[in-house]
């Protein structure tokens, strides 16, 4: 069974033919397109390490069949920086020590970017914690992660206001 699909991944249009409908977006990215920044933790939607943006929304790529997302626009951790410049959420994770081993970090950063886009957390750390609860960090870097998301959100809001001024 050959299943053709077309995806835009980090701004580049990719025509892909799958030979197996079971391939998830996560496995497609990692095993077939060499985009290994997206991590496979639990593979069951419980840890958030595989978080990516699909059509602008953060989802668990391990619980998404690739074939069902024909036509989607996907952003992974490889696609968030511009040239040598880090995304504000990436920079804030470094500034606030938002990681230790780093395995969950791509998922945390993609989830933070998704959260800021959703605009639901405001400047309340308690809401950031609640809205980031789908991303586990076994090193326990949660305090730095929360601070990083709050600062990135504040920086991104400020620069947006400057641009529109």
């Amino acid at each position: 069974m050959n299943l053709p699909l077309s995806l835009t991944i980090n701004g580049v249009r990719r025509e892909i033919t799958l030979d197996d409908p079971r391939v998830t977006l996560l496995d497609l990215l990692r095993e077939r397109l060499d985009l290994t920044g997206t991590k496979k933790g639990c593979d069951r939607g419980q840890c958030g390490a595989c978080t990516i943006l699909v059509d602008g929304r953060r989802i668990n790529s391990c619980l998404a069949l690739a074939v069902s997302h024909d036509g989607a626009e996907i952003v992974t951790i490889e696609g968030v920086g511009h040239g040598g410049e880090l995304h504000p959420v990436q920079a804030a994770f470094i500034a606030h020590d938002g990681f230790q081993c780093g395995f969950c970090t791509p998922g945390q950063i993609m989830s933070g970017i998704g959260l800021i886009g959703e605009g639901q957390a405001g400047d309340d750390p308690e809401r950031v914690r609640e809205c980031m609860s789908g991303n586990l960090c076994r090193c326990g870097a949660y305090q730095g992660i929360t601070e990083a998301v709050l600062e990135a959100q504040s920086n991104m809001t400020a620069s947006k206001q400057r641009r529109s001024a």
Binding site: M1, N60, L65, V67, S68, G114, L115, E118, E130, G134
Partner: protein
């Protein structure tokens, strides 16, 4: 995961035609189904992808004051719809206390209704489970069962239905619109999920090929918007199923309760409407004595299915708390945060 054929029908009629064949399963976002397939618990031979079906992703305001929510509306989109949260605050609160932000961004309204009633023994292929394998027995009965059902269970199955969304919905008389081989019909949500009895493998009232196309809330469901809460107790602050939860919606006029709508989650194989408790509160003064009597009535028929007698007391306390908070008034910001040990807001 067992291999399967993948089909993407262009119309509801085509979907039902292929979805009626033996071994076929409907796929929306797949957040529950793919998880079950990875564990070998669900083994469909064909997946019928519903995600491209036209017209099922809309929220429509009906002429009679009701609301019709397409089955493909995403949980997060519904919860964050400003009008929806204002008119049905307990439902928005329930939606946002379920799963994680990533899952809510993907999961659909129809999929939430159709998620499986389940427990750890249902997931574990090495354990006996009547729901997974009819007649196999139930290892949960003598296993780790402190989170299992206390209402409506049978020796055949003691698992609970994990949806938060369905709990306030069943209290608000939500209706499920179904398309099937013999045309369109509708069913109260309360009649969709079945109690286990002798046939725990028969989880819903749907027949083969039946497809949920929409969920409807009747006009009077908006009448509870000023006094509505969904309170959920978990073993950790966020991203966990309910140990128990309670949806309480009140219509208070001239200092007394005209009408109460109450349902419990985490206690049974279906979202549990507590009509006995509603009757206790009809015409009563909104005070703790009345809430306690209502809570006793709600749990009067409960019995432990294992190490879970504590849930009977806990469910009463959570219901009293939900009623107290509902009577105090729906908070300005919906959803309120779940109570967290880090929260600076007492009783949030």
């Amino acid at each position: 995961m067992m291999n399967f054929d993948y089909v993407r029908p262009a119309s509801v009629a085509d979907a039902i035609a292929v979805g009626s064949e033996k071994g076929a399963s409907y796929l929306a976002s797949g957040t529950n189904l793919l998880d079950l397939m990875k564990g070998g618990v669900s083994r469909p031979s064909r997946l019928v992808d519903l995600t491209r079906l036209p017209g099922l992703d809309r929220i429509e305001h009906l002429a009679d004051g009701g609301l019709r929510i397409g089955a493909l509306v995403r949980n997060a989109d519904l919860a964050h719809d400003a009008g929806f949260a204002r008119n049905y605050p307990a439902v928005a609160e329930a939606l946002l206390s379920g799963a994680s932000a990533q899952l809510r961004n993907a999961a659909t309204v129809g999929g939430n209704l159709m998620q499986r009633t389940r427990c750890a023994y249902f997931y574990d292929a090495g354990s006996a489970c009547n729901r997974r394998w009819p007649g196999a027995g139930c290892d949960a009965l003598n296993g780790e069962n402190r989170l299992h059902a206390v209402l409506g269970w049978s020796e055949g199955c003691i698992a609970t239905h994990p949806s938060d969304f369905c709990v306030p919905l069943v209290a608000l008389d939500a209706i499920v619109e179904i398309e099937g081989k013999s045309g369109r019909r509708e069913l109260p949500l309360e009649a969709l999920h079945r109690l286990p009895g002798e046939t725990p493998e028969r989880e819903t009232a749907l027949e083969r090929g039946d497809l949920i196309v929409a969920l409807r809330l009747p006009a009077e469901a908006q009448g509870f918007a000023k006094h509505a809460r969904y309170i959920k107790v978990r073993e950790r602050t966020s991203y966990a199923f309910a140990v128990v939860s309670a949806a309480a919606s009140l219509r208070i006029e001239d200092g007394s309760i005209r009408e109460a709508r109450i349902a419990l989650g985490g206690v049974a194989a279906k979202p549990w409407r507590a009509r006995e408790a509603e009757q206790v509160l009809a015409g009563a003064a909104p005070d703790v004595a009345a809430y306690r009597e209502a809570a006793r009535a709600a749990l009067a028929g409960a019995k432990p299915s294992g190490d879970n007698a504590f849930k009977i007391e806990l469910a009463q306390r959570i219901l009293v708390r939900a009623l107290t908070l509902a009577a105090a008034g729906t908070p300005d910001r919906i959803p309120a945060l779940p109570g967290s040990p880090f929260s600076s807001v007492a009783g949030a």
